[in-house]
């Protein structure tokens, strides 16, 4: 009310016969000043909102073998994940044509359907029925919406929204793979299926530029469940003193495994895709010289982060190990006694990062055993069955 009255007083002023005041005299000057300030603010905001180029890996087309509608074998297709008008889209191309067979622009959202944010993370192909042919895709957009889309050689099916991990600080820049997990009976909470899939995502903070690793469970029956929310993921960034000294308690384990997933701040920027070795995630991160607008380079300080895949708990006495530099790829190295070591392999030298690697063991939530690489190639007998013809 008061502001309205003030406004009317201001509006009524020019109608009076008084000579023009200083406000009217310098009006154009003040207006142009205000406009330029507004433009500067918009420009600053757009600079802050835009993400640096180094956040994004080049969107390479991916070759897939997909099921054809006829009984002939799988057909070769190329999957592109591009942006159009700043909205993420998937397109499927045949190998011999530049005309897309199908494209997906509209995605289901929590309330309705609409456009996706750009796809920084490349979609992960899945073979849900283990017949050797890709039949589903998991796509994660920049804001953290995760969709599951059936795919065939002819095009895309209807998508489901698996998760809406939208958060004011985190943007999802890459995917570190989808992993098939089987939990042994003693480590499984009631009601949790023995087999499920975990999708590993890399999120980056728009305020600090640091990365977080997100492990999200893909529900087996996704059509009936509500999309997973970021708040339902367990924050495992800090380990309690008890967990450091006595290990993960059974109750903590069951709570984490029963939840939708976990996430951990890495206090640095990932310099290469994380590797999962025997149930342990190894991530190489640059811990200095990065910000929200600049990415770290090889000259920064580097470290290795190791954590348990299922609980993000401790595998070794500590999570973090120092790397001398960030040059080269993390590789496994087989020692003379068959044990494994992690080395940073570059052209000139191999830097030993961690010797006597451990793998997780199903005896207890934080049990480990020594990883032996000489057990490979390893044979698993999935099933032995008797074929019967006729009755005896």
């Amino acid at each position: 009310m008061r502001s309205k009255r003030l406004k009317s007083e201001v509006e009524s002023k020019p109608n009076t016969a008084n000579p023009p005041g200083p406000l009217v005299k310098f009006g154009p000057l003040i207006a142009s000043l205000l406009l330029s300030m507004l433009a500067a603010a918009v420009f600053c905001f757009s600079v802050l909102a835009a993400t640096p180029e180094c956040w994004r890996q080049p969107a390479e087309p991916r070759e897939l073998q997909l099921k054809a509608s006829t009984s002939s074998g799988p057909l070769q297709r190329f999957l592109h994940h591009n942006d159009r008008d700043d909205a993420g889209q998937l397109a499927l191309y045949p190998p011999d044509s530049s005309v897309a067979l199908d494209a997906l622009h509209t995605w289901p959202l929590p309330d309705s359907s609409g456009v996706a944010a750009p796809f920084y993370a490349s979609p992960e192909p899945l073979d849900s029925d283990y017949d050797g042919i890709v039949d589903q895709l998991i796509s994660t957009d920049f804001k953290g919406r995760v969709w599951l889309t059936p795919i065939a050689a002819t095009g895309f099916g209807g998508s489901w929204l698996l998760a809406d991990l939208t958060h004011s600080d985190w943007r999802f820049i890459a995917s570190a793979g989808v992993i098939d997990v089987r939990l042994p009976l003693p480590l499984r909470p009631d009601g949790v299926p023995s087999r499920h899939k975990i999708v590993l995502l890399i999120a980056r903070s728009i305020s600090s530029g640091e990365d977080a690793l997100v492990a999200m469970k893909i529900p087996n029956v996704f059509a009936e469940t509500a999309p997973i929310d970021f708040a339902t993921l367990v924050d495992r960034t800090l380990l309690t003193e008890d967990e450091r000294e006595t290990g993960l308690s059974n109750a903590q384990w069951l709570a984490i495994v029963d939840s939708a997933g976990w996430w951990v701040r890495l206090s640095g920027q990932l310099t290469q895709p994380p590797k999962v070795v025997g149930g342990v995630i190894y991530s190489a991160v640059a811990t200095s010289d990065f910000s929200a607008v600049a990415c770290a380079d090889q000259a920064a300080e580097h470290s290795l982060v190791a954590m348990q895949l299922h609980s993000a708990g401790l595998v070794y006495t500590q999570r973090r190990f120092r790397l001398l530099n960030g040059e080269g790829q993390l590789k496994l190295q087989q020692q003379a006694d068959g044990s494994a070591a992690l080395v940073l392999d570059n052209i000139e030298e191999q830097q030993l990062v961690l010797a006597d690697l451990r793998m997780i063991s199903p005896a207890c939530p934080d049990c480990t055993e020594q990883l032996q690489l000489d057990q490979f190639p390893r044979w698993l007998n999935l099933a032995t069955y008797r074929q019967e013809t006729g009755a005896h």
Partner: protein
Amino acid sequence: MRQSGMALISALIFLLVMLLIVSANLFISQMSMKSAQAAQRQLLFEQRALALHLNSVSDATSTSSEADFTIISRCPASYAVWSDSLIKCDLLTLATSLLSDDSRFAASYSSMLVRQQLIDGEVLDAE
């Protein structure tokens, strides 16, 4: 009276002869022993077929050629999981069958074996 007595005696003699013939037949053919052992023989045969199959499974893990394998897109789910970029899996389906010496029994077993191996170039050898 005498005639009916003769008929009874001849009938008894006939029955006796028949009994002798049947019991001799049974004794010679050992039918009751065979029927008593049939179930056991079948079990033994099944066990022999399974032992043969398991032997060939252990042989296959060392001698099978690459052509026998079917490449599967993903490794089966496990607890201590590996990244897809580090490990690959192949599937081997192995079937054996055994026919008994007298061709009366046949048993066949099949196994699905997964071979997990590290992808070349991902694992370095110690110098």
